[in-house]
């Protein structure tokens, strides 16, 4: 079985609806920019509307110092599943 080189790595930055700027959320592999954008939406925003995404080839990024901290993306206020569903779990079920 051949080991193909694989698609290049892209870093993904997301600005959520209520956010002020783009934050780094992770990476993905894509063959081109259009694919990276679409895949980035699927993977990091579940296509939440009003969210802005940037994708940049990882090898195009120059980092300044070893102490650079990657931003933390917490999906606060963003909903990441597909369809809203109610789960009626009785209040007295422990640990759930």
């Amino acid at each position: 079985m051949t080991v193909d080189a694989g698609w290049p790595l892209y870093e993904v930055f997301v600005r959520s609806k209520r956010g002020l700027n783009h934050v780094h959320v992770g990476s993905l592999h894509a063959a081109d920019e259009q694919m990276a954008l679409l895949n980035g939406r699927d993977l990091y925003t579940r296509r939440n509307e009003g969210v802005s995404i940037w994708v940049v080839r990882s090898d195009a990024i120059t980092a300044s110092s070893p102490d650079e901290k990657d931003s933390f993306f917490a999906p606060s206020g963003d909903k990441v599943y597909r369809h809203p569903t109610f789960y009626t779990i009785p209040d007295d079920v422990p640990h759930m």
């Binding site: 080991v3 694989g6 933390f72 789960y87 007295d92 079920v93 422990p94």
Partner: protein
């Protein structure tokens, strides 16, 4: 060498202070290797885990359940991707990790080497398997390695809903027909012990634990987590009305915890070693998907290259 000793001292101090190690920080080679192995195997587990659950999407008995299951399996793909992404910050390439999975050089959680035989299995996997995974994973949100800890926070959030989805399905089935109740009990009988095995071998049999705890890669021992899982799950089983298949299970007031029977470690070793009901099939499927997709990946690369040279 002084330089390395200083870097090493910094590393140790950062970890001891419960702070994060980031991708561009110096780290001992052993730490890097351990993290790569742990994160990759976690990623592989998410991807392989899509198979036993994906098995029931086409036959889900209501459209709502179909949607929930499809979303769940999609989440698992996403979790795998977040984790591969975290592993790549350590200097490995995802294509290489995929090779290691397919060739058996790296492992995945052996719970996925069991077949899913009824729709109740979907609920039980959510309740027990995701439940056990959460027990394992919440502490990892405080893992010393930054990208891994952050991926874990996102994963845990999504996984807690998976567990609820599974449990809610089981509640619905237990309130349903006799056939549904039997299905739930049967699925529980088959998945209970393998779920306990998810926490790994007993502490007496785990040589890597001490070093992993020092590096804050692991925050609790296997037995500690296993006990915690049992204590959380027994009341949930009682609420459901299913019997856990362990005649030795009983509350120990002195310990403030449940006593439970002996796990069949011989079975665990066999399944982890490759001799489980679905090992070959899981890997073969992953390999086939990867090989079948080669021409597609090559085409995309070729197309992109054309775009670049115009």
């Amino acid at each position: 060498m002084t330089a390395t000793t200083d870097l090493e001292a910094d590393f140790e101090a950062t970890v001891a202070a419960d702070k994060r190690i980031e991708p561009r920080d110096w780290m001992p080679e052993g730490y890097r290797k351990t993290m790569i192995r742990q994160i990759s195997q976690h990623a592989h587990s998410e991807i392989i885990g899509m198979q036993p659950e994906g098995n029931w999407i086409s036959r889900a008995p209501s459209l709502r359940r179909k949607a929930i299951l499809l979303a769940k399996v999609q989440d698992e793909a996403g979790h795998g991707l977040y984790l591969y992404s975290a592993a790549e910050t350590l200097g490995v390439d995802r294509a290489d990790l995929t090779m290691r999975l397919i060739t058996g050089a790296q492992k995945y959680s052996s719970i996925f080497n069991y077949p899913t035989l009824t729709f109740a299995d979907v609920g039980v996997i959510g309740w027990l398997v995701d439940g056990a995974a959460i027990c394992n994973q919440v502490p990892l949100c405080r893992s010393s390695y930054g990208p891994y800890a952050r991926a874990m926070v996102r994963i845990c959030k999504e996984e807690s809903f998976h567990q609820r989805q599974g449990y809610e399905l089981l509640l619905t089935m237990m309130r349903g027909t006799a056939a549904q109740r039997e299905m739930v009990q049967d699925a529980t009988n088959r998945f209970w012990w393998p779920s306990l095995m998810m926490f790994g071998p007993p502490d007496t049999d785990s040589p890597n634990t001490a070093q992993s705890m020092r590096w804050r890669v692991k925050r609790h021992t296997n037995d500690e987590l296993r006990q915690r899982f049992v204590d959380m799950t027994v009341p949930q089983a009682e609420m459901l009305g299913v019997t856990l298949p362990d005649p030795d299970l009983r509350w120990n007031a002195e310990r403030g915890a449940y006593d439970f029977g002996d796990v069949d470690w011989a079975e665990f070793k066999r399944v982890v070693g490759g001799d489980g009901p679905c090992n070959e099939q899981r890997i073969a499927n992953r390999r086939r998907a990867h090989e079948r997709g080669a021409w597609v990946r090559e085409a995309a690369t070729a197309h992109a290259a054309k775009g670049n040279s115009r």
